[in-house]
């Protein structure tokens, strides 16, 4: 309280300062000093080859310029095949991933699942969330060989971690009185999930699935680098050949598809809620 009165007194004399964001002064100074020490350490340990960087500026400008004249034609066939493969991978993996994440999400919600099931499902989710899609892709490519199937399995696996976690959190946040009301009518477990839990989480489930569709498309453009199908391989080749006109064309297609899907999912979400 005394601090607040000091502030008022000081303000009356014309010395006013906004409240600091971190109210504990010791913590504030520790943070400031910590950041300073880190910056000094980082400055001396990150070695950048500035000569090489300035050499690359010209190529950087070439790349930016190529967005003004993207080349859709000379590798047109590969772009179309790659994008089609990416889109099919995206859709298939999202459907499979969402279908699998529903039971796992139910199992990972503490309020409806017994403890052993809960722990098992949570472990699965943690595993799927820790590693980047590309690492998972390396693993599955080694298992099932090159091609879009490895990509589908990768993206479906990554989808499980994302969807099941958010779904479980949503179920844990659902209103307990409705769950109790349906249970009080003598409903069995399946009826209970179907009539008390499902209506509460459905709008969010649909919204999240559409969001994940979007993420899976973006990821499908990357996992091709390690041979898991999609547009990534074509993109990688064009970048390594300094064929920036083709790269720009592919990137523009990706950006447009992401934009379209964002617009579409916004529309569906409004319609669902």
């Amino acid at each position: 309280m005394s601090i607040a009165i000091d502030r008022v007194d000081a303000a009356k004399k014309g010395h006013w300062k906004p409240l600091p964001f971190v109210s504990d002064a010791r913590l504030r100074w520790a943070l400031n000093i910590g950041v300073l020490v880190y910056l000094v350490l980082a400055y001396f340990s990150v070695d950048v080859n500035w000569a090489r960087v300035s050499e690359g500026m010209e190529r950087g400008l070439n790349f930016v310029a190529s967005f003004a004249q993207p080349d859709f034609i000379s590798r047109g066939g590969e772009i179309v095949t790659g994008i089609r493969e990416s889109l099919t991978m995206t859709f298939t993996s999202t459907v499979i991933g969402v279908a699998l994440s529903i039971p796992i999400g139910l199992g990972a919600a503490r309020n409806i699942a017994p403890l052993p099931v809960y722990l098992f499902c949570r472990t699965l989710i943690a595993l799927s969330r820790t590693f980047q899609e590309i690492i998972i892709a390396i693993f599955f490519v080694a298992m099932v060989g090159f091609g879009p199937l490895a990509g589908v399995i990768t993206l479906a696996f990554a989808t499980i971690g994302f969807m099941a976690k958010l779904l479980a959190e949503d179920i844990e946040d659902s209103r307990a009185d409705q769950l109790e009301a349906v249970r009080a009518t003598g409903a069995g477990w399946w009826q209970w999930v179907n009539y008390a839990v499902q209506p509460q989480v459905m709008p969010r489930l649909i919204g999240l699935s559409l969001y994940r569709l979007d993420i899976n498309f973006r990821e499908s453009a990357v996992i091709g680098i390690v041979g898991a199908g999609g547009i990534g391989a074509t993109l990688n080749t064009s970048i390594n050949r300094y064929d920036y006109d083709t790269s720009a064309a592919i990137l523009l297609v990706i950006i447009l598809i992401v934009l379209a899907s964002e617009y579409f999912s916004g529309y569906v979400r409004k319609w669902v809620q």
Binding site: P18, A42, T130, I134, I135, M143, V144, G147, P148, V222
Partner: protein
Amino acid sequence: MPLTQTSDKYEWQRRERNQQLAIWAGWFAGIVLFLICWKVISDNTIWEFLADAGVQGLSLIDRMIPPDFSITGSLMLPLWDTLNIATIGTALGVAMAFPMAFLAARNTTPHPVMRGFALAVIVSSRSINALIWAMLLVTIVGPGVFAGIMAIALRSIGFVGKLLYEAIEEIHPEPVEAITASGASRTQVLAWSVWPQILPAFVGTAIYRWDINIRESTVLGLVGAGGIGLQMNAAINNLAWGQVATVFVLIFGTVIISEWVSAKVRGATS
């Protein structure tokens, strides 16, 4: 909710008939689309390779155990590089996202044309994965930590910019009006009424992105952009799966710690 009367009792259905039919049609179209997509993928798959997939997977895991911890010491410097890529990249990204967010928010943008430009920057940055940015930058500025930092920064603009401009659009108008009524200039209004309102969201978003960037920067080395991914790539190319497992353990630990830090800070600010 329609009730139909049969001879002696009422029957309850959840939906009208047409609504129910439309839902069934939607499901049907979705399933057909799924099957078509699955056909495309199946045509591009060599199913013979799948026969020994289980054996392959098990032997891979078998070769990873036990992890080869003798290389842990030599991994510390790459791990520090990874932390630097994520942290400095996030800082640069946030610095660039900051003006973009003010240009993109409907209530603070100076001109609709500027808003369109800022939104285009945000969408392009968001659509392109950090790894693709890294591939590009490696060919432009050469392999190394700098390419990684810039890739992370460019990817972060879109994410931070989007969440931040949404936060700006959701501020309460009263403080803005009050400060404006006191005769403040445009910059003063931004500094004393908009900025304090979005500060918690700003810190939360930046830390959240830092947490994601730690994950992403662990794999940037696969395309030559520095960090622990370089060692991972080398180990994979040498088929030294014991070393790969060590890298995985280190990544796992780092991710857990960064997630904990991020959750703590976000819990304290919101």
